[in-house]
């Protein structure tokens, strides 16, 4: 494998790499100047469409296509919302981009606003990133001073303001319509779609919601070109006309039981095993991996024998995972109880379910209660079937919820129980020798706090 030189992370480790002077010395803002000097918004849309860039926030929707859903000749305002609510367990690539190279993100936002004709961009930042907040605000101030933000930028009729808006520690604000509701000052209850935000979004106006890493990719495509971007990653499958391919570099967040956790940039399509061995220094303490989360906890689990799966947009789905998600790879070693893992996952989702849709609110809290009962030595084999039933019935895919949070709660549950059923059964039989076979109803346990 030829060594891959980081692009999105090129400022990491550079002294003062987060300043505008450093960013410009790497070629930054020159593409923006060239764009403003002679290009039309449609040129930028065409560039992003032909690059094959797919959104880096989790769903992998083609970015240029998303932009084209905006109404034509709309009198405005059109809003761009930048999703920096990065809260998917295991994920921290946006934090690194915002702290170490905020101008790369800002140039991407300016180019994307120019393309979508947005004159206001709100950057929704999770509360837990104070350092990102300070770095971004300082960088935005520099960009205003340099004339890249404000009224009539570079003498054109294009004007843009970027405003930071801080969240308050709720995972659901990363769902794009939950983010919009939160920005409007309301509880972050996701909206039923359609209408999609492109038609009716923030303040009932056409809105695009894009992720931080997507913005960084837009800046790099503008600097290095569509051909460069398409030369990296996994081309579209010619046998599948609906596959848009997995082009470009990707930030993989590697954490859990590895020797060297960190954010690593690699071409889309690297395998989990390559990531763990080439970047992570192997599974820690010389142990073996029992399971690996391919892209944030809601994507489910791969087993050790599935680690050669390419981590592109199509890969994890081939081994029963939900998708690539945020490309946050979390390694779980062979000394870890899968029961503990699933309990941790269930606790997260029970806490973070927004409570709007009953199947998710009740499904996540009851699955946590079932897992607490199992961990307390009172589990029954029947509980595993109840957990699977919950997992199979809550979510957008079965059609019972408004947003995908419940699908994300269901996936680790379904994957863990299907791929490690023997371990669950052994645990239940060992810890509840007199009751594992009982099938009578049991009294409810204590109520757990929901979000």
């Amino acid at each position: 494998m030829t060594p891959f030189k980081p692009v999105l992370l090129e400022a990491v480790g550079v002294p003062d790499g987060h300043t505008i002077a450093s960013y410009k010395s790497r070629g930054g803002y020159a593409p923006l100047e060239a764009t403003l000097a002679g290009k039309q918004p449609t040129d930028v849309i065409e560039m992003v469409k032909s690059s094959g860039l797919r959104g880096r926030g989790g769903a992998g929707f083609p970015t240029g296509l998303k932009w084209t859903f905006l109404p034509k000749d709309h009198p405005g305002p059109i809003y761009l919302c930048i999703n920096a609510d990065e809260s998917e367990p295991g994920t921290f690539n946006n934090r690194i981009l915002m702290e170490d190279d905020p101008h790369q993100v800002i140039e991407g936002i300016i180019l994307s606003s120019f393309a979508t004709r947005a004159s206001t961009a709100y950057l929704y930042l999770r509360y837990e990133y104070p350092q990102s907040w300070h770095r971004l605000q300082a960088a935005i101030d520099e960009a205003y001073a340099a004339g890249y933000l404000g009224q009539n930028i570079r003498g054109t009729n294009f004007s843009l303001d970027i405003y930071l808006h801080r969240g308050a520690a709720a995972y659901i604000c990363g769902e794009e319509t939950g983010l919009i509701e939160s920005l409007e000052g309301k509880r972050a209850w996701p909206r039923i779609k359609p209408p999609f935000p492109a038609i009716e979004g923030l303040f009932r106006k056409p809105t695009v919601v894009n992720n931080i890493e997507t913005m960084a990719c837009v800046a790099q495509i503008a600097r290095r070109g569509v051909d460069w971007f398409k030369s990296i990653g996994v081309p579209a499958d010619p046998a599948n006309p609906r596959d848009p391919g997995s082009y470009g570099p990707k930030l993989y967040c590697l954490s859990g039981h590895v020797e060297r956790p960190g954010c690593y940039e690699a071409p889309l399509g690297i395998t989990a095993r390559e990531l763990i061995e080439q970047f992570g220094g192997g599974v820690w303490k010389g142990r073996k991996a029992k399971a690996v989360i391919p892209g944030g906890i809601s994507m489910g689990l791969m087993t050790e024998s599935e680690l050669d799966t390419p981590l592109d947009f199509a890969g994890p789905g081939k081994v029963g995972c939900l998708g690539l998600g945020t490309a946050a790879v979390v390694v779980i070693d062979d000394q870890t109880s899968i029961v503990d893992f699933l309990h941790n996952s269930a606790r997260f989702f029970a806490h973070e379910s927004c409570g709007q849709c009953t199947p998710c609110r009740e499904g996540t809290s009851w699955s946590l209660r079932l897992l607490e009962r199992i961990k307390a030595g009172k589990g029954r084999l029947k509980d595993l079937d109840i957990l699977l039933e919950i997992g199979n019935t809550m979510g957008m895919m079965p059609g019972s919820t408004i947003c995908g949070l419940a699908d994300g709660a269901a996936w680790p549950m379904k994957n863990a129980i299907k791929k490690f059923r023997g371990e669950f059964e052994d645990y239940i039989k060992r810890t509840n020798p007199s009751g594992w076979m009982v099938t009578d109803p049991v009294p409810a346990l204590q109520i757990v706090g929901a979000h």
């Binding site: 305002p77 990065e86 809260s87 998917e88 367990p89 295991g90 994920t91 921290f92 946006n94 934090r95 206001t120 999770r126 509360y127 837990e128 990133y129 104070p130 350092q131 907040w133 300070h134 303001d161 405003y163 808006h165 801080r166 969240g167 308050a168 520690a169 709720a170 995972y171 939160s182 920005l183 409007e184 000052g185 309301k186 509880r187 972050a188 303040f203 967040c253 590697l254 954490s255 859990g256 039981h257 956790p261 960190g262 954010c263 989360i293 906890i297 946050a328 979390v330 779980i332 870890t336 503990d340 893992f341 941790n344 996952s345 606790r347 997260f348 806490h351 973070e352 927004c354 979000h451």
Partner: protein, 166 residues
């Protein structure tokens, strides 16, 4: 200074809220920024302050309270400690001892999770993923990210005085 007829919001807080108003096409969008501005000063947002925020924004108090309670972020009954420590318990930290760390810190300080020490110095709260899994297990103490914590290093870090959260 607190204006006549108000108990919680100072003129300075109201000025900070008003300074953000031009960013949004309506005043309801100021709800979260206003809650953060008040919370940064008072370390909680009591119901009386909610009523005053609603008056400033031209909203029903119930609208502001509805948003506040959704997040479970703003304490209402009493202020959180001068240091508010969020101890991550999500998967990457849990795999490296996050739960153990939380339990140890609560025991050592004699508080339940979300509780504050009697001297009002320290609040310990479980947090979902802090987005610093490369430094697991980690703690966010006010604006400071405490990396690769052990029960011993965390105990020492949390004794230190710290700048207020921004």
């Amino acid at each position: 200074m607190i204006a006549p007829g108000r108990t919680y919001l100072t003129d300075e807080m109201v000025a900070k809220i008003e300074a953000l108003a031009p960013r949004y096409p309506n005043r309801r969008a100021l709800t979260l920024p206003a809650l953060h501005i008040v919370n940064a000063e008072l370390r909680h947002v009591p119901l009386g302050a909610v009523v005053e925020i609603a008056a400033v924004l031209g909203l029903a108090p119930a609208e502001v309270q509805d948003t506040l309670t959704f997040y479970q972020f703003f304490h209402q009954e009493k202020p959180h400690g001068k240091v508010r420590a969020f101890v991550c318990r999500s998967v990457s930290c849990a795999l490296r001892g996050g739960d153990h760390l939380l339990e140890h810190l609560c025991k050592q300080n004699g508080v339940e999770p979300y509780g504050t020490t009697p001297d009002g110095e320290l609040t310990i709260e479980p947090a979902e993923c802090l987005g610093a899994c490369d430094f697991a297990p980690c703690i966010l103490a006010n604006d400071d990210l405490l990396k690769n914590m052990t029960p011993e290093t965390a105990a020492a870090e949390l004794k230190k005085p710290r700048a207020r959260a921004t």
